[in-house]
């Protein structure tokens, strides 16, 4: 009597699996992982990112405030500033992490979710918008497969100029009907605003950069056709157990 596989099934949380995969994809392109605090000052979450106090741009992100005036970070973009303050370019980082928005929850909205931010800074003339487009196209094809189309269009985020939105569209065989051929907004990006470079202590006459960011749950929902974002943080093990990893990989770990 033999077991066909001689393996064990394990469940992996989809956010962990997605972050792990994102880190690997970007590692191949020379990106390192950076992180930052989830409780953030107004300065790092907003002001340094070119969101002036009392500016309507702040309405774009409903914010949880602490009594002392700090915030639960609304975006992983705060890591940009922390990192640039401490490192000289060239910079190539991604920063996955949890962020918070004070908005009513439903199937598509959650008060806490994961994002990852990408940041590339180099001497002026070495990198440009074409590289941003190239990197983003590469990432989505790696993550969703070769049958992924990507388009870039104007957007607005105060910390980049110009700001760009990326949409992806999955085409061809094996794409669920709900997604087939539809453009879906997945990523905000742009060339780092000169004020942001200056705020982080870099000379905008000397350096140029781009940044991009996306919600990890949204990518996971497209990847696995998950209908309700609230599943991710609900602590319901029935959800995690839907996501099974190949067991022989586990044995390899044990052998190491």
């Amino acid at each position: 009597m033999t077991d066909a596989n001689n393996t064990r099934q394990v469940a992996i949380h989809p956010i962990t699996s997605a972050v792990r995969e994102i880190v690997r994809i970007f590692d191949k392109l020379g990106f390192s992982v950076a992180d930052g605090p989830e409780i953030e000052t107004d300065y790092y979450n907003f002001e340094a990112l070119n969101f002036p106090k009392d500016h309507p741009a702040r309405d774009m992100q409903d914010t949880f405030w602490l009594p002392d005036g700090r915030v639960l970070r609304t975006q992983t973009s705060d890591v940009q500033i922390h990192f640039m303050e401490e490192h000289e370019p060239p910079i190539r980082i991604i920063a996955p992490g949890k962020v918070y928005r004070s908005e009513a929850t439903d199937m598509k909205h959650e008060a806490q979710f994961y994002q990852f931010e990408g940041l590339v800074v180099d001497k002026k003339g070495k990198i440009n918008l074409g590289h941003l487009k190239g990197i983003v196209e590469y990432f989505f094809k790696e993550f969703f497969g070769d049958n992924t189309e990507v388009r870039m269009r104007p957007g607005f985020f105060p910390f980049v100029e110009p700001a760009l939105e990326f949409d992806v569209r999955l085409v061809g065989e094996g794409v669920p009907e709900k997604l087939q051929g539809k453009w879906i907004e997945v990523m905000g990006s742009g060339m780092v605003h000169r004020n942001v470079l200056s705020n982080a202590g870099l000379d905008p006459e000397k350096y140029q950069g781009f940044a991009f960011g996306t919600g990890i749950e949204r990518l996971a929902m497209m990847r696995w056709m998950i209908d309700d974002i609230r599943n991710f943080h609900h602590g319901d093990m029935r959800f995690v157990h839907k996501f099974i990893a190949e067991l022989e990989q586990v044995d390899k770990i044990k052998d190491k």
């Binding site: 989809p14 774009m60 910079i91 004070s102 104007p154 607005f156 044990k254």
Partner: protein, 644 residues
């Protein structure tokens, strides 16, 4: 911003492309389209106008201007374009109306007009239809014109009934900060108590507030059907002061949205002239004269770029000729000097101030789809390992080996050391100080669903996440276990936690920091545990979710478990049994977990737990029984198989 297709069409001699073609143009080159609806033969496009374009695109004229550039078509009219000679009309000053701005910062410009002899009545059809298409109610011809001008040019304006203002050898309007406790009843009847964070427009002859500056008009000088003489207001109010005032008194209006995003200092003059012109057209009357508080002069903002700078930024091959052609489509003043292009954007484009702004304008008209994606240049900067991610992965590896499954719970909760100042709901008004409270709840629910998780002996789960106790934020890890059978439950749980703890300490080569053990949950401070450890040289290679995984939503219906034990020949394959189970159980079979196997007399006994559950109903014992009968029947019919 709701935009009417017919309204946009007024700006062009030729027919516009179809609404779906416009949607494409807006989406790819200008502004996001949130939706399109048909309203009485018009198409209404909901454009997401964000702060960068709120100075010029919160009105149809600005949106039409965008189309003229992107479609490369001339506009047949443009109230803001062309020569400024029409503004000279403003210098025909009123002898009966004056304005005194007491706070220049609050109100950098106040223009007005006195119009005599209007006839208030119903609006003409064209006006009603335009406003109704974008969801505005028609009130009367005079008020409708102010709304029309706001949704056309982006300039909020207001009309006062001149005969309701005090005439003391002339009408005098003033702009000042409100006094603490000062009250005003606005249009619609709501009363507001003000303070000095708010500004008011007053009837200066008796110092009575007649409007909340930049927010809403007052009832006291409201236009009604008997109104004959009117005062028009078209002003600029300070963006953040207006925004804060609006937040303070909790009154948001379309006017606030425009002022808080900042309108150009030049715009009020165009607004007052356009309102005066249209009112005379639809309600008659005659302009007695204008007022204007602004003494300043328009500032030009030249933006200078080089073609090399442009292409280095966009990664494009745009020639000077192409760049100039694009600027010509905008109709912007410019000069070329060698490789340098100097552009003077028009006054309404407050968002075009630096080279990067101009790169964007040229880039989006050129078309971002024409920019080729490239990989980053080599060599990459030296890579480094993120210590927290490396160790988080390392402890996850231990958890995989020990059969402990990861979960994620809410940071926002009903208790913790830090209470939020702004809250969503009473059960989420704190941020967590530890993981164990959330994990304990997850553990309890996991126990109820244990068979669905394939667990019959013990449920083991963990979470890694940031916590926020008084001492500050750190990364914590908690492992929770719960025995599923009563026998020596507590002892088994303790042992299980001890095994996991040992495995972690061995892998990390360090003692866990700040360990607490409570009710089957072990929690420790992961940040402190790894603080003095060296940074690993690489990340552990952990598995990803399998390629073939297909997600089905969690069923809200109860599950049913059944066991089956079968004698099979020694050379049989396990899937000979499981295939039969899936054949008859179909989609109702959630899991099949083997729990027993032994050999005797050349035969093998195999035993399985089967979990049944439907996505759309509660299964009855009968239904499950029938499936089991079929499974047992087929297994018994196999040679040398026997269901026990």
């Amino acid at each position: 911003m709701k935009v009417s297709y017919n309204w946009l069409q007024d700006y062009f001699a030729e027919s516009l492309p179809s609404v779906s073609e416009l949607e494409q143009v807006f989406m790819l080159q200008a502004l996001e389209v949130d939706g399109i609806e048909e309203v009485n033969g018009d198409s209404v496009i909901d454009l997401d106008v964000l702060p960068n374009r709120a100075h010029d695109c919160l009105g149809h004229r600005g949106v039409a201007k965008e189309l003229s550039v992107l479609l490369d078509r001339k506009m047949k009219k443009d109230e803001l374009g062309g020569s400024t000679s029409k503004l000279t009309e403003l210098s025909s000053r009123s002898t009966k109306l004056s304005v005194e701005v007491q706070d220049q910062e609050w109100c950098p410009r106040y223009t007005g007009a006195l119009i005599k002899g209007v006839k208030v009545g119903e609006s003409p059809k064209w006006l009603r239809e335009k406003l109704e298409a974008i969801g505005q109610k028609s009130i009367n011809n005079v008020v409708d014109i102010t709304n029309y001008v706001m949704f056309d040019l982006g300039q909020p304006t207001h009309i006062f009934d001149a005969d309701k203002l005090t005439d003391n050898s002339g009408i005098k309007i003033a702009v000042r900060k409100a006094k603490r406790g000062e009250e005003i009843t606005v249009l619609g009847g709501d009363k507001y108590e003000l303070d000095d964070s708010v500004a008011v427009i007053t009837d200066a002859n008796n110092d009575t507030p007649i409007a909340i500056a930049g927010i809403k008009g007052g009832e006291v000088a409201e236009v009604d059907e008997d109104t004959v003489n009117i005062v028009v207001e078209s002003a600029k109010f300070h963006p953040t002061k207006t925004r804060k005032a609006s937040a303070k008194i909790k009154l948001r209006t379309d006017a606030v949205q425009r002022f808080e995003n900042e309108i150009p200092i030049e715009l009020p003059a165009y607004g007052v002239l356009e309102v005066a012109r249209l009112i005379q057209e639809v309600a008659g009357g005659e302009v007695e004269g204008f007022v204007d508080s602004w003494q300043g002069e328009s500032q030009e903002h030249k933006v200078s770029i080089t073609i090399a700078g442009l292409n280095n930024f966009l990664g494009s091959d745009i020639t000077m000729e192409q760049a100039v052609d694009i600027i010509n489509r905008f109709g912007w003043e410019h000069e070329v000097s060698g490789e340098t292009l100097i552009v003077t954007p028009p006054f309404e484009r407050l968002d075009v101030r630096i080279a990067e702004d101009l790169y964007e304008e040229i880039g989006r008209v050129y078309g971002f789809e024409n920019i080729k994606g490239k990989m980053l240049p080599s060599p990459a900067p030296e890579k480094f390992i993120n210590k927290e991610w490396a160790y988080s992965e390392l402890v996850r590896k231990v958890m995989l080996e020990e059969g402990v499954t990861e979960t994620m719970t809410y940071t926002l909760t009903d208790k913790g050391d830090i209470k939020l100042a702004s809250i969503l709901s009473a059960d989420k008004d704190h941020i967590r100080s530890n993981l164990r409270v959330g994990l304990s709840d997850a553990l309890e629910r996991a126990v109820k669903n244990a068979p669905l998780l394939g667990e019959y002996n013990m449920v083991k789960i963990f979470e890694i996440g940031r916590v926020f106790p008084k001492g500050g934020e750190h990364t914590s890890m908690a492992i929770g276990v719960k025995a599923l059978t009563k026998k020596k439950a507590e002892q088994r749980e303790q042992e299980a936690l001890e095994i996991v703890r040992k495995a972690l300490e061995q892998e990390l080569g360090a003692k866990l920091a700040d360990v607490t053990i409570n009710n089957g949950i072990l929690e420790f401070n992961l940040s402190d545990t790894i603080a003095n450890l060296p940074t690993p040289s690489e990340y552990p290679k952990l598995p990803l979710i399998g390629k073939g995984v297909k997600y089905t939503p969690i069923s809200p219906f109860p599950f049913v478990t059944r066991d089956i034990a079968v004698w099979v020949p020694e050379n049989a394959q396990e899937n000979e049994i499981t295939d039969v189970i899936y054949k008859y159980g179909g989609e109702l079979v959630q899991r099949v977990d083997k729990f027993d196997e032994f050999k005797t007399d050349g035969r093998v006994s195999l035993a399985y737990h089967i979990v049944f559950q439907s996505q759309n109903k509660t299964l009855t014992d009968d239904e499950v029984g029938q499936v089991m009968q079929k499974i047992e029947g087929e297994l018994n019919s196999k040679e040398n198989f026997e269901v026990r």
